[in-house]
C-alpha cells in the first residue's frame, strides 16, 4: 500500500495535512486511506482529516448521510493493539469544532487496503431488536434493486443513443 502511494505527487489533502501537523508519515497515510475510503467508497459527506494533539494521532470525521450526525473514525493498523484505557480516552480526547464524540468508529486497516469498521460507544448500548434489523435489510434491498434498474436504464439509453449516432454518421 505504501509503495503505490509514494508517487511523485501526493493527494493535495494529504500534502496539506502533513504540512500543518507534525505527524508520523505512516499514521498520516493510514488516516488518509480511511479518509479516501469514507469519502469515495462509502459516500460520506463533509469528510475531513484532523489531528488530535492529545493523542498525537490523526483521525477522520464525516457524516454518513447528508445532514446526518457527525461521526469520528479512528484509524488503526491490523498489527496494532489498543488497551481499554486507550479506547476510553478516545471519547475524551477526540474533538472536532468543539464537538466531542460519545461513539467512535474503529477503522482497522489491513495491508491489502481493506478496512473493517466497528462502532465503539462510551456506554452500554442495547443490541438492535430483530424487527429493526429486518426492516433495515429490506430497505437496503429495495434501494439496491432501484439502483440496478436505474443503471440498466442508463446503459439502455446510452446504447440507443450510440446506435442513433452511428446511423446518422455520414458514410
Amino acid at each position: 500500500m505504501t509503495e503505490c502511494m509514494e508517487s511523485s505527487g501526493d493527494h493535495p489533502v494529504l500534502e496539506e495535512f502533513l504540512l500543518h501537523h507534525s505527524c508520523d508519515t505512516a499514521k498520516a497515510r493510514l488516516a488518509f486511506h480511511v479518509y479516501l475510503n469514507l469519502a469515495e467508497v462509502r459516500g460520506w459527506r463533509d469528510v475531513k482529516l484532523h489531528f488530535c494533539k492529545k493523542l498525537q494521532t490523526p483521525f477522520v470525521t464525516g457524516r454518513p448521510t447528508l445532514g446526518g450526525d457527525l461521526e469520528a473514525a479512528f484509524p488503526m493498523a491490523m498489527e496494532d493493539s489498543l488497551t481499554h484505557q486507550q479506547i476510553q480516552s478516545l471519547f475524551s480526547s477526540l474533538s472536532a469544532d468543539d464537538h466531542s464524540f460519545n461513539r467512535v468508529m474503529l477503522a482497522v486497516c489491513a495491508s491489502d487496503t481493506s478496512i473493517v469498521y466497528y462502532k465503539v460507544s462510551n456506554d452500554i448500548v442495547k443490541p438492535e431488536p430483530l424487527d429493526a434489523s429486518d426492516a433495515r435489510k429490506q430497505e437496503w434491498e429495495q434501494r439496491a434493486a432501484k439502483r440496478r434498474i436505474q443503471a440498466a436504464e442508463c446503459i439502455e439509453s446510452y446504447c440507443q443513443h450510440q446506435s442513433q449516432q452511428h446511423d446518422e454518421m455520414p458514410p
Partner: protein, 259 residues
C-alpha cells in the same frame, strides 16, 4: 442471583435436561452475596469415627424395622387379595375336588361335593404366606441429608478474588448486578458473563461481558473477532475494565453494518 441447578429432580430422575436443587453459584455471585450481607457461608464440622459407628448402628436398626413393617403390610395386602378372589378360589377347589372324586371312581352328586368344601372353608388366618427375602425390600433414598449436623462460619476461608483478573471480574459483576442486570456465566459465547435485562428464563441475553485489564493491550484482530461474535448472535459485546479509581468502565462494541 441466578446460579445453576445441578441436582437431580426427584420426580424426573433419569435425565439431565431439567435439573433440581442444589444450586451452584459462581464465585462472583457468592462474593456479592457475602459483601452485601445477604448470605452466610457455612461449613460442616467434620464427623469423628465414634459418630460414624453410631450412625451405622442407627441405620441398621432403621433398616430392620423398615423390613418388618414392610412384611406386615405385604401380608395384609395378600389377605385382601384373597378375599377379593374368594369366589374364584372356591370354584377352583370345587373343580379340583370333583376331578379327584371322579378319578377315584366315586360318583358323588354335586351338592355333596359343595358341602364337603364348605366344611373345609378356606380359613384365611390359617393360610400361610411365604415372606419375601430382604433383598426385595423397598429402600428409601434420602433426598436430604438425614443426619443432624453442626456447622461453623466459613467466611474466612473464602479468599476469592485474589488475582488481578479475578478482581476485575468480581468488581464488574457487582457493578452490573447493582445496575439491575441478571448475570450468568458467559462461556457459551466466549465471554466472562452474559447480562440480561430481566429473568434469564424469559429473555435472551443482550450483552456479552468481557473483562479486561485497563492496560491490557487488545490486538485489532481480537477486537474484530469480538465484534463479529456479537453481531452474529445479536448481542452487544461489552468491554469492561476498572479505571484507576477502581470503578467499572464499559465500552460497547457493535458492527457498523458497513460491508
Amino acid at each position: 442471583m441466578v446460579g445453576v441447578l445441578v441436582g437431580c429432580l426427584p420426580r424426573n430422575p433419569r435425565q439431565n435436561v431439567h435439573l433440581g436443587l442444589p444450586v451452584q453459584l459462581m464465585p462472583e455471585e457468592l462474593s456479592v452475596l457475602l459483601n452485601k450481607g445477604y448470605a452466610k457461608l457455612l461449613k460442616e464440622k467434620p464427623v469423628g469415627p465414634e459418630e460414624c459407628e453410631q450412625r451405622i448402628r442407627v441405620m441398621e436398626q432403621e433398616r430392620k424395622a423398615n423390613f418388618e413393617a414392610q412384611q406386615q403390610l405385604y401380608r395384609e395386602d395378600r389377605r385382601q387379595e384373597m378375599v377379593k378372589q374368594m369366589s374364584h378360589i372356591m370354584e377352583g377347589k370345587k373343580a379340583k375336588r370333583q376331578r379327584l372324586l371322579q378319578a377315584a371312581g366315586k360318583d358323588t352328586p354335586a351338592e355333596e361335593a359343595t358341602a364337603t368344601i364348605k366344611e373345609e372353608e378356606v380359613c384365611l388366618d390359617k393360610v400361610s404366606i411365604t415372606p419375601t427375602a430382604e433383598k426385595h425390600m423397598l429402600q428409601q433414598l434420602f433426598t436430604e441429608n438425614p443426619w443432624k449436623r453442626e456447622m461453623r462460619n466459613a467466611e474466612e476461608d473464602w479468599t476469592y478474588p485474589t488475582s488481578e483478573a479475578e478482581k476485575v471480574r468480581c468488581a464488574v459483576f457487582q457493578d452490573l448486578w447493582e445496575k439491575q442486570y441478571y448475570l450468568t456465566s458467559g462461556q457459551k459465547f466466549g465471554g466472562d458473563f452474559l447480562a440480561y435485562p430481566g429473568d434469564p428464563s424469559r429473555f435472551h441475553s443482550f450483552y456479552i461481558v468481557m473483562c479486561v485489564g485497563k492496560d491490557q493491550p487488545l490486538p485489532a484482530l481480537d477486537i474484530i473477532s469480538m465484534g463479529r461474535l456479537g453481531s452474529n448472535v445479536r448481542k452487544t459485546v461489552l468491554l469492561a475494565s476498572l479505571d484507576s479509581g477502581g470503578h467499572a468502565q464499559y465500552t460497547s462494541l457493535q458492527w457498523t453494518g458497513m460491508s
